[in-house]
Subunit: 330 residues, 2 copies
C-alpha cells in the first residue's frame, strides 16, 4: 500500500486508470443555477463505470498493487454497495478472482449486481465488525488483498482523479461540494484541488448526526465508539466516523461542512431527475441540496462557480428517494 497521497500520487493514479475509466462529463442546468444563485457544475460520476465514483479508487488500488509486483491470488472486500460493485468490476478488469463479503439480508438486486461482475459472494453477520472479521479471515486463508473502501492511500489517490478532472474542466472554480462518508473521496478531491488551486474551497456534505465539523475543528475524533451507522436514506454515506487515514487529510484540507437532512437529499434527487433528466442516488442529491441551501452563503457569495459531485446513480427503482414514506412523512 502507498504511504502517502499528494498531487503526484493523484496524477499517477490518473495515468494508471485512464483508458479503463471514464473522464466523466460536467453538465450544467440554467434552472438550478437560477434556483441556487450560483453557477453550478455537476460532475457526473453516476456515469462512471459501475455507476459510481468508487470504480476509480478500486481500480487504482488493484493496479498499484500489481505494479508494485505483489501478485495477490484474490481480491477481497466487504461492502454490499457501490464499493463492492466497484471492486468486483476492477478485479475482473485486472483478471483477478474476487470475493465480496456482504451482510445476510442484502437485497437480491445488489447481490446480483456484484455477481454480475464475476465476484464470489460470502454472507456474514450483518454488523460492521462481522463483515470486517469475515473479510480478514478470507484474505488470510487465500493470501488475498483487501481493498478498503476509504482508508487506503491508493484508493484516496484514485478518488482524487475526480478533482483533477474537475479543476481542468471548469476554469476558476470557487467551491467544490463533496458528499462525505469515510472521507476517501473528499480527501482525494481536496488533495488534488488544493494543490492546484488553493483558494478553491472544499466543502464536505454530510447527513444529520455525523457532526463532522466539531471533530475537524478540534482535530480530535469526537465520535462515539464502536463505529455506528447514521439514520439516513443515503446508503452511500451512512458511516458516522471518517477513516483513520482520511481524518488528518480532512483536518488539513476541508474548509467547511454542510449538513443536509433526508428530505433535502430526496428533493435534490427529485430536482436532478425533473430538471436535468438524470437519475442519481441520495448521496448525490445531498450535494445538490447543499448547493441550494442557505448555508452556502457562509462560503461563497452569489454568482460564484460551484462544483457539485454527483457521486453515483445506483438507486433501487422501486425505492426512489422522493417517494419514500420516511421522507414524505418527515
Amino acid at each position: 500500500m502507498a504511504t502517502k497521497v499528494g498531487l503526484e500520487e493523484v496524477r499517477a493514479a490518473a495515468t494508471r486508470v485512464s483508458g479503463s475509466l471514464h473522464r466523466t462529463e460536467v453538465i450544467t442546468c440554467s434552472t438550478l443555477d437560477f434556483m441556487s444563485g450560483y453557477k453550478l457544475f455537476f460532475k457526473t460520476e453516476m456515469w462512471q463505470k459501475t455507476g459510481s465514483f468508487k470504480a476509480r479508487g478500486a481500480l487504482n488500488a488493484i493496479k498499484s498493487c500489481l505494479e508494485r509486483g505483489s501478485n495477490p491470488p484474490m481480491i477481497v472486500t466487504h461492502s454490499s454497495g457501490n464499493h463492492g460493485q466497484a471492486v468486483a468490476w476492477a478485479a475482473k478488469h485486472c483478471q483477478l478472482p474476487c470475493t465480496v463479503v456482504v451482510p445476510e439480508g442484502t437485497p437480491v438486486v445488489k447481490c446480483e449486481a456484484i455477481e454480475g461482475y464475476g465476484a464470489r459472494l460470502v454472507k456474514c453477520h450483518p454488523t460492521p465488525t462481522g463483515r470486517k472479521e469475515m473479510a480478514d479471515k478470507i484474505a488470510k486463508e487465500t493470501g488475498g488483498k483487501i481493498v478498503h473502501p476509504y482508508d487506503d492511500y491508493d484508493v484516496i489517490a484514485g478518488q482524487g482523479t475526480i478533482g483533477l478532472e474537475l479543476i481542468k474542466q471548469v476554469e476558476d472554480l470557487d467551491v467544490v461540494l463533496v458528499p462525505i462518508s469515510g472521507g476517501g473521496m473528499t480527501s482525494g478531491i481536496a488533495v488534488a484541488v488544493k494543490s492546484i488551486k488553493p483558494d478553491c474551497k472544499v466543502i464536505a456534505v454530510e447527513p444529520e448526526g455525523k457532526d463532522l465539523w466539531r471533530s475537524l475543528e478540534s482535530k480530535e475524533r469526537l465520535w462515539p465508539n464502536p463505529p455506528q451507522f447514521l439514520n439516513t436514506i443515503a446508503e452511500g454515506i451512512m458511516t458516522q466516523q471518517v477513516g483513520q487515514v482520511t481524518f488528518p487529510l480532512l483536518c488539513d484540507l476541508v474548509d467547511g461542512v454542510i449538513t443536509v437532512n433526508d428530505k433535502e437529499m430526496a428533493e435534490g434527487c427529485r430536482l436532478a431527475a425533473e430538471r436535468m433528466k438524470v437519475m442519481v442516488e441520495a448521496a448525490s442529491g445531498a450535494a445538490l441540496a447543499a448547493a441550494l441551501s442557505d448555508k452556502m452563503k457562509d462560503f461563497a457569495p452569489e454568482g460564484k462557480k460551484i462544483g457539485v459531485i454527483l457521486c453515483g446513480g445506483n438507486v433501487d427503482m422501486k425505492k426512489l428517494p422522493w417517494l419514500l414514506e420516511k421522507v414524505i412523512n418527515q
Copy 2:
C-alpha cells in the same frame, strides 16, 4: 407556411435553429447492447430545450414565419404537453407573446411549466375539438399564428434536424426507431435519413391500438372518426390518427412499425433510469422497448447499428411509468 419538406428544408431548419437549440448527444450503454443484441445509439432529446424534441419544430415554425416577413402579434397553440411548453419557449425566444389553450383539469405542474416560459394560459372544454375551436377563435381575434403540433411542413422540417444530426453522429446507421403520434417527428426524421442514407430503415414505434401499418400499407386512412386518443400511459403519443400532411410522407418513407404495450414502455423507462441513469418519458421508453423486442428481428439481424430516439424526459416524478398501478397490475 412552407408547402413541402425535403432534405433542403431540413438543412435550412438546422441552420435556422442552430445556436438556439442543443445538438443533443448520442449516448451508448453496453448492458443494453448486450440485452438487445444490437449496437444501440440513443439520441437524447430529453436534454433538448424544454425537455423534448418539440422545441425544434416549434422554433423552426416561428422563425420561418418571421423570415417570410409575416409579423404575427401572437403565437397560439393548443397542447398541455411537450408541444405547449415548446411553443411557449420558442415564442419567448423570438420575443413574441404566446397563448396556449389547455383543457380544463390539466395538472397544475403542467400549467406552471407553460406559464414559466411566459405564455398566457386559456382553459377550454377537455375534448380535441374544444381545444382546436378555442385556439382558432383566439388566432382569429388576435391575428395570431397557430403552430400545429405536426401537420405543418416547418414543424416537420424542424423535427427532421434530429435525423440530420443522428446520421452524422453515427456512421453507417442501419435502423432508426422513432416513437410516433401525429407523425411530425417520424416524417421529419425519415425525410432527412432517407435522403442521405436510403438503406437506413425508419421504423415507427406505436402504442397498441394505433394500427398504423394497416393504414400505411393500404395508403388509406383506415382509422375511425372523429379522431380518438389511445388508452396508453404514454401521453406524448396518444393520438390515434397521424396527420393529413404527415400521412403521405409516412406512406412513402416508413419501412415498418413496431407496436409496444404499456408494460414494455414502462420497462424501457425503468431500464433507461437503472442502466443509463437518465430520466425519460414513456414515449422514449417505447423506443427502447422496441429495440429490445423480438419484432426487431424482422428488420435487422443481430449486431446492427440502431438509432433509438429518446424523444423527451418530461415525467411527473410522482407518477413514474414503472410504478403506475395500471402497469404493475397489467
